[in-house]
Every structure is written in C-alpha cells, then in structure tokens.
C-alpha cells in the first residue's frame, strides 16, 4: 500500500515537473497571467470603484460573486458542524 502510494506520488510529481518546462519564469512581468486580464484591475480600480486596495475591489466587486460563494462556504461549514456534532443534554 505504501509502495503504491509512493509510486502514485512520484508519477504525479513527475507530471508536474514535466509541465514546469513550458511555464513562464518566476516573477516575469510579461507572463500571460500578468498581461491578459489583471492590468485592467490595476489601472481602473480607483476610477471605477474608488477603492485603492485592488485586492479588496477585485474580491468584493469585480469577482464579488465568488466572495458570496466563499461566505456561503463558511456558513455551510458552521451549519454542518452544528448538524454533525450538536447534542443537547436532556
């Protein structure tokens, strides 16, 4: 079992390392991730949302629905914990 686990881990790791060959270098300012969508957030955020903290404006406005999902996830966790564990002594 442990041996099988080790083999799976090695295969997965090798696959991930294989993919790094084509990845952009670390902290490359011209990588696609930094040039396709995100520049608009940085350049327009103050103009469009009057919020200097770009992370906050993206979190709560541009991708606000993700944050609703995120709040729902933690709400779900709280409700699940109550559902699973709460027992009232009678």
């Amino acid at each position: 079992m442990k041996f099988l686990a080790f083999i799976i881990v090695i295969i997965t790791g090798a696959l991930l390392i294989y993919a790094t060959v084509d990845m952009p270098d670390w902290a490359d300012p011209y990588s696609p991730a930094s040039t396709h969508v995100s520049p608009r957030y940085i350049e327009k955020t103050v103009e469009e949302t009057a919020t200097p903290n770009i992370v906050t404006s993206v979190l709560a406005d541009y991708r606000g629905y993700d944050t609703l999902g995120e709040a729902t996830v933690i709400f779900t966790a709280a409700v699940c914990c109550i559902l699973l564990l709460r027992r009232t002594r009678k």
């Binding site: 903290n53 906050t56 606000g64 609703l68 709040a71 966790a77 709280a78 914990c81």
Partner: protein, 151 residues
C-alpha cells in the same frame, strides 16, 4: 480540565486585551479599502477574541457574552446582508451585485456607491466569519455539548 485551572493574571490580561482585539478587528474590517484587510481577516480576529475568552475563562463565560442562538443569528445575518445587497441591486434594475446602481439610494456618484457597496458586504462577511469561527470552535472543542467535558 480547562475549567478547573483559573489564573488571575491570564484572566485579567485577557479582560484587558479583548476590547482592544475587537476594536482592531473592526478597524481591519472598516479599513479594508486602504490597507490589507477586509471582512474575512477582521471576522477571524473578532472570532478569535471570543475564542480567547473561552480559553482564558470557560465556555459558560463566552456563552454568556454570545449565546448560541445569537451566534447562529449573526451567522445568518451576515450572509443575508451580503445577499440582500445583491437583491437590492436586482430590484433597482441592475444585475445581481452591481453596486453601482446604489447611487440611486445614496447621495454619491457611481464609483463611491461601489465603494460603499464593498463596505457593506465586508461587514456582512465579517459577521458570518466571526459567528462561523465561534460556532466551529465551540462544537469541535466540546464535541457538540457546549460544556467543559473535554477530558
């Protein structure tokens, strides 16, 4: 096991510290527009202050300050605030969560309406995260009985 041990230094120190922790949490929530922070971080700190109360005193003390019922209501209220702001936008004729439309209700222009909308949902998220953290901690620490039975 936890409840039997009462230390006057720890309790006094916590009593002194907790208001400042909570004040700092409110600052983190409210200042999320200008510095790192926001609803999640502030909510976590706010929850941590109650968890500190549980650890330093006992669960009874914490539950006197924040009863279980109130906690669940806070948990729901936070997400209701968040979803409700979205529904208000929907009723006013914009898309869901489009805070720009709130300028019809508030005496500000569109970008500032967005900024205020962000503040509103940060507060909602803060409530939910605080209540969820307290609820998860209480249930896990006492295995669901909300008494000091962990032995």
């Amino acid at each position: 096991m936890i409840a039997q041990f009462e230390d006057v230094i720890i309790q006094t120190l916590c009593r002194l510290l907790i208001p400042f922790i909570q004040l700092f949490a409110l600052y983190v929530i409210a200042h999320g527009h200008h510095s790192p922070g926001g609803g999640f971080q502030g909510g976590c700190i706010l929850g941590a202050s109650f968890i500190l109360l549980c650890v330093a005193y006992d669960m009874e003390e914490a539950k006197r300050r924040m009863s279980e019922k109130l906690n669940v209501i806070f948990c729901c209220l936070g997400v209701i605030i968040f979803g409700g702001i979205g529904v208000v936008c929907l009723i006013l004729g914009a898309n869901y969560l489009d805070y720009g439309i709130l300028h019809k209700l508030l005496p500000v222009n569109i970008p500032e309406a967005r900024s205020l909308g962000i503040l509103g949902i940060e507060i909602g998220v803060g409530f939910t995260v605080m209540a969820a953290m307290i609820s998860i901690f209480l249930n896990l620490a006492s295995s669901g009985e909300h008494e000091e039975t962990l032995r």
